[in-house]
Amino acid sequence: MSNAREEILGRIRSALKDAPVGPSYEEIPRSYDRKGKLDHEASLHLLKDRLLDYDSDIVEVTHESEIASAVAEALQRASEQQVLVAEAFPAAWLPSGIDVVRDTQLTTQQLDGLATVVTTCEAAVSATGTIILVHEGAQGRRAITLLPDHHICIVARSQVFELWPEAVAAIDARSRYAITTISGPSATSDIEMTRIRGVHGPRRLSVILYG
């Protein structure tokens, strides 16, 4: 195949050989907003607004020690008693009296049989109501937040940024092997532009805000 490679690169070079040298990468105008304008309280308010707009549930707590009870509340709202979590998920954040399944490289079939997953996240963007996962630690590998029908995601208030450029700069997104961004439950508008919640990904998204 190196033949095709050389030929395509050759075509590109010969097509461009007489083109004037354009602006360098550094000269690209970037005067768009890279920092938000809201204070942190307003930014959090905006995030909640956006999440509600996507039909997500929100449970708010102040202290880290209240996370377990927030998880219990999110489960109760969905009438669920069993959760899937990544191996590294802190035990202290799980309520007692529920059935906990840890992802010890479960098979696809095993994952598919589970209704609810609880994870943390890396950052959130309030302008678009987006949660960013980099799939490390308690965030779990990609499949665990995909197959269960209900995703409960724990977001620290300090992880919330107003704009996308701020958030990705803060989490060193370049060096991650995988990133998934989630803005509300999976959805489609393919039939007559009617928005239907939940196609193949989780149909329900609950967000726990703490800290």
Partner: protein
Amino acid sequence: MSVRVGKTSTAAEFPSAAKIALKNDQLRKNVHHATNVIRNKRALRVEEMPDWQLLRDAASAIKAHTLKNLDTYLIEFERNCELAGGKVHWARDADEANSIALDLIRQYNGTEVIKVKTMTSDEIQLNPALEHAGITPYETDLADMIVQMGNDEPSHIVVPALHRNRFEVRDIFRETMDLPDLTEQPEELTGAARTYLRERFLNVKIGISGANFAIAETGGVCVVESEGNGRMCLTMPDVLISLIGVEKVIPRFEDLDVFLQLLPRSATGERMNPYNSLWCGVHEGDGPKAFHVILLDNGRTKLLHDEMERETLACIRCGACLNACPVYRETGGHAYGSIYSGPIGAILSPQLQSLEHSRSLPYASTLCGACYEVCPVKINIPEILIHLRGRVVREDQATLSGKLGVENLAMQGAAMAFKSESRYEAAQKLVQIGQGLFERNGQLTNLPGMAGAWTKFRDLKPIPKQSFRDWWKSRETSKPGGEA
């Protein structure tokens, strides 16, 4: 090399296909409804972005810079993708890309593949090639399923089944999924798709995707989607093959700041689409064990030579220009005879094929400029359309049949008439007298000879009894003082 873009080489030319589409009231109703909804949502979501124009400026500059240095960025992407455990293949044209994909699928003993929306695969007609080789492709995007199951062609680059309403979708699903009691409720239709595909997501070993962006700096790939079928195809199979047009590369991760803010608002009027997946190569314990990229040329590099034509390659396939286009909104996508329809299709399809097919497409526009206004990467489509019309005419004039073609003769006749004042007036007089014969309901139809080519596809108002020039002259003589 043979560049193939979907079924354009056998498709009817735009004027005749458009005539048929215009008679289909259901189709026009569906297209109107869908494009209206997206247009309104887009307008709202763009309105709330104070830095929208600045983002467009950056996007346009990033694309211009990348295309000018395309070889460098492709090599950088290849190196970093392979460092992360991916394997990069290069395909000069559609056939080569199809055979690379087929070889890979055979190498992994695949008999079926799950696919997430890739226009590029429609472009190279991958599905027929797979089926021919006994491999079953499953489209997993809801709209693509509707198109595939209905033996149909996509009619929009973002919402490929927007020409179908819920009743039509119900009938297609009832038949293909064997669900005689399915109703037309969108929730039920969506639920049927979920159940139908779930088992395939869990069991099919090979996934095929396109890409929205390929990042040179990291070797990573980004897929933008809504339903979660993308995440399924990118995560669950053992092997992932991503088919990526060479123009999809962007220099750095931070360039996504620009494109991921522009694309969802332009495409579906959402602040952000439900899911974006980004990944680099392969990773132990998470996702596919093997990752292959096929970098596709298929006519793209020919567009690099000319600065204006090169701009076409900046397209991020958001579909905003389709929704805004007064021609697309009346005809829908099929009339364009190409999987790339609307204003972007009118410039992209003919250029990829060196104007061998789809030659009437540069004329499928009123040049109103709505497409340019909404384009998130600021592609000046009207300017490129005019440039291509010029190319078509020049090429036509270079051939004998073109020289004697009615439209060409008409244009040359017009050029003659416009050359001098007296000739123009004489021609006008002649028409004023003669046109009565061809006037029907206030329109001129089926003019003979040189003007016939014009009126065949266009409505023409008769020239009024008194021309502007006559009126101006009489005004000058009847006016007492005249103005300075």
